[in-house]
Symmetry: C2
Subunit: 559 residues, 2 copies
């Protein structure tokens, strides 16, 4: 056994409670090294002579270097000590505890999970575990009310090619009008990019957090939207842009006007006074010197309270079901802890999803977000299905790693996206190959976590990165890819009718880096779903072990 | 290079800010594998073409399996992306980023430390970095006021052998009387086990958090003690027993009396009503069924506020300098976050030390404690110097591991103890071998972190575990080991006059598992201290590389 490859720590995704009396533990070892892994546990005050109990750990995943084992250990008293017992393929036995990886149990010591506090058990919303989310960029989804069109709105045509300063007139009435379409598509929640007052088409530069942008409608329109969506079983998630405001935000205007005398000067990160926007801003902004997006000082108690009041207002006033958090990893952790408390006190089933493009484990411990936009997923899917840069072996390994950095509660509701308003459209990344695209969509809709569908993907929309990925939605049925739309409906329906697909475990079933065949199994209770993908241009014959499925008949779900 | 041994994650002790513009990063590799390790970093919004900057990582420690490398990377914009570049001893080169350990830089991706919030930079008190702490168990240190002696107080003699229900009459006036002794010893802070009203001799079953136990004195006595200690440059740390109260605590008495109708019933974890203490408590307690110590529900807002008010009271009323937290790992994290906020708002230089006997990394992220009682240290020191169970190689490896699970800010102020009121006296563990004991003390007083001296160790007191380790202090000079006391004074003085010993880096200099020779070097600025220990009964000759010390003359500090 390769000792250097064995890894565990008594925290993070390696040891975490799933109920107040159950601790999930994970151990990593070199791929193929271990024949068996089990874990002994007892109350942490138990004496040496007490028996404790044994739990077998199952191999749950592998990547190119490692196998991962997991067990669910009981914590009757909520105070746990535990030690792993490993047997390698040569029959040698080892103990892993806090003091080391040893031949003698006594030398290894014990790990401790001192106490499971019920308030510290990571809970993510039940509804989200069965969800399929649809992302709407409101300016570009549907124009339902011509009377609120912005000046200079451009024609809503399939060949429209937006610039950064284009407007088309999409609005909330447009979404209300299209709710039947979304219901028929089968989605369970809508995520809206920002809808509050702002001068831009994307509205990430908020001028007033309390006002629906009049270009999109009025408060009454939005309330009707939420009501109508809920009536159809569709949740509504808004975008919380709290890392920065827009430069028209009243507090920043006050600072621009009164400088050092402004009572809001500490709400931002000002380098010097007077505050100037040109030629370069002398204050911290989103990204590098985006003068229209001054960074908010979320550590400041007044700012925190101001922003949390916005959260309370929209949740209680309109009944929205959660928040997606813009530039979430540049806001301080304590702000998000306070945010979670406010959100979950109003509605324990509200969903909190951060925008984090990289390893987000620091925000997914259970005290901040429920989920993030899973760009790690996108990156792997893109490189396997669209560009062919990675083979099935690496694809599987990357998926494993992106799951193993998180706790199960987060993995179950991770927003798995193919694309967004910030990326190229996936079909474009596929060089418009519908075959590739359909395979990626099939994967997205059968993988563990929440599929996040960017508006228009389902009818075959294309577009390079921003601003081109934000073209107005194609509603002309002659120009929609109806076959693709039917495919999406079919897959969403299959997923939503299958606990195995929405909530089941994930196991790699078969992979072949040479042929591009990749297969996996999802299991929940007695239901098992196998998915076999041929990511190549050739017909492939493959021999699969169907023992997973027991003695039952296999049914082809796509037939 | 063994790929499986390479480890980094963008958080915890592997990536953390030390100032608002500097990030410490750490990488682990198989021992001996790497010839060079460096890290490239840039602003996380920087384009592919931007240059970024390079930092060399130094090998800072090793254990039996791994080498650890560290670098300090600049974060001018506070938003950092980085990737490691490794060269192994065969000359092969690798890149390690979020996506993997790869030959091609592009394939490895980048790690991200999204934003360094100044409020999230872990700050531990400056004074603590130069500190030597003395632990006083007030009932057993000195009896300065006979008028407040408990009934049945036993004679204060060197051959006293305490039982669990013994009292001897130690008090706060006794500590005041002995401050000159402590000043002469050279310590910089006193940690008092609990002094609030309680029926027991140890007072971990608090009856009233607002009252000094009359057996110890009055509020005025304690205030005088703090004043007098401060005048002598000695800080005062109290014991916060917030995991549980005593059963005489008013709220628990109310629950005992009124049961389900008590307004305090949710302050505890009650299984059923009426609440009974016999034959077994039907409520959760400290450890298993300690009826006199009902566990507090620290998640409850009223309990939290009640306890935090106690913190405010003692800090503002008496000016104490910090808290040691009893059973700290069984109290919820959010409580400790709130606790830290309250403490540091009153006094940013107040010290917070948890009682955690195991891996405490979850509490030492920077948002909860500054330090813990370092029982991992004790365990290794015990087994190397006292019992000889481990050799120099394993000793060094265990020390490395116990440092590498924490951030530097915590390691610098870790309370390194040989023993406490909860363990056997170290001299007893040495079978009363003063040679062994002196070697361990020398190590304790020259290691990185804060030496914590248990009262009486310095005069040669012995004792098996509780209650025997709590004998009354030996003040009879004829019975004190005066040579040992002089040795302690000498070492404390050397330490307190050496920045290298108090704040310097720690590097293993030489170790030999066969001869028991273990040597290490501490460095701070231009000062370098080398320590060579011969943990055997034989004379040893050893050849040491003195390149560490540059062209300066070596001075024997113990001469």
């Amino acid at each position: 056994m390769m000792k250097e490859a064995v890894y565990h720590r008594p925290g993070g995704p390696f040891a975490y409670p799933v109920t107040p009396r159950q601790l999930r533990v994970r151990l990593r070892a070199k791929k193929g090294d271990l024949d068996a892994c089990r874990v002994w546990c007892a109350d942490r005050y138990a004496g040496d002579k007490e028996e404790g109990s044994w739990t077998v750990c199952q191999k749950v995943a592998s990547d190119q270097l490692f196998d991962y084992f997991e067990g669910l250990i009981p914590g009757e008293t909520r105070r746990i000590k535990y030690v792993f017992h490993l047997r390698d393929v040569s029959g040698e036995e080892w103990w892993l505890g806090e003091t080391g990886l040893e031949k003698e149990r006594k030398e290894a010591g014990v790990f401790q999970y001192a106490y499971i506090h019920p308030t510290e058990v990571f809970m993510t919303p039940e509804w989200a575990k069965d969800g399929v989310v649809y992302q709407i960029f409101p300016e570009r989804f549907h124009n339902g009310d011509k009377s609120n069109d912005p000046r200079g709105a451009e024609p809503w045509t399939a060949d429209a090619r937006p610039r950064h300063d284009s407007f088309y007139g999409g609005d909330l009435q447009g979404v209300i009008d299209r709710l039947p379409y979304l219901e028929q598509l089968g989605i369970s929640a809508i995520y809206f990019t920002p809808i509050f007052l702002s001068p831009s088409h994307h509205k990430y530069d908020t001028a007033d957090y309390y006002q629906i942008d009049p270009q999109f409608g009025e408060m009454s329109t939005f309330k009707e939207l939420v009501r109508e969506a809920h009536r159809r079983g569709i949740k509504v998630i808004l975008d919380a842009v709290f890392n920065h405001s827009g430069d028209q935000f009243f507090a920043f205007q006050d600072v621009l006007k009164y400088g050092e005398r402004s009572r809001y000067k500490d709400w931002f990160h000002i380098d010097s006074f007077p505050v100037v926007q040109e030629p370069e801003p002398n204050y911290e902004t989103f990204a590098n010197q985006v003068a229209t997006m001054p960074k908010l000082r979320t550590e400041h108690p007044e700012v925190r309270e101001y922003l949390l009041q916005i959260v309370r207002f929209w949740m209680t006033e309109t009944g929205i079901d959660g928040w997606r958090l813009d530039v979430a990893n540049e806001v301080d952790h304590q702000f998000w802890r306070d945010f979670r408390k406010v959100v979950k006190e109003i509605n324990p089933e509200a969903l909190i999803v951060g925008e984090i493009w990289h390893d987000a484990s620091a925000w997914l411990e259970g005290d901040q977000f429920d989920s993030v936009m899973n760009y790690l997923f996108r990156e792997s899917v893109l490189r396997f299905f669209a560009t062919g840069e990675i083979d099935a072996s690496r694809f599987d390994a990357e998926l494993t790693r992106a799951r193993m950095i998180y706790k199960e509660q987060a993995v179950q509701v991770m927003w798995n996206l193919l694309d967004s308003h910030d990326t190229e459209r996936f079909l474009t990344s596929c060089d418009e190959s519908l075959e590739k695209f359909r395979l990626a969509v099939l994967f997205q809709l059968t993988y563990v976590g929440t599929p996040l569908i960017y508006y228009g993907d389902e009818v075959g929309m294309t577009g390079k990165t921003d601003p081109d990925c934000r073209r107005p939605m194609i509603w002309d049925e002659k120009l929609q890819n109806k076959q693709l739309l039917a495919y999406y409906r079919r897959l969403i329906s299959i997923r939503r009718n299958s606990k195995a697909l929405s909530r089941g475990s994930y196991r790699t079933w078969h992979l072949d880096p040479n042929t591009g065949v990749y297969a996996y199994v999802r299991q929940y209770g007695r239901e098992t779903v196998g998915v076999v993908l041929n990511n190549s241009n050739e017909k492939r014959a493959v021999r699969l072990d169907v023992a997973w499925f027991g003695p039952e008949y296999l049914v082809d779900a796509l037939r």
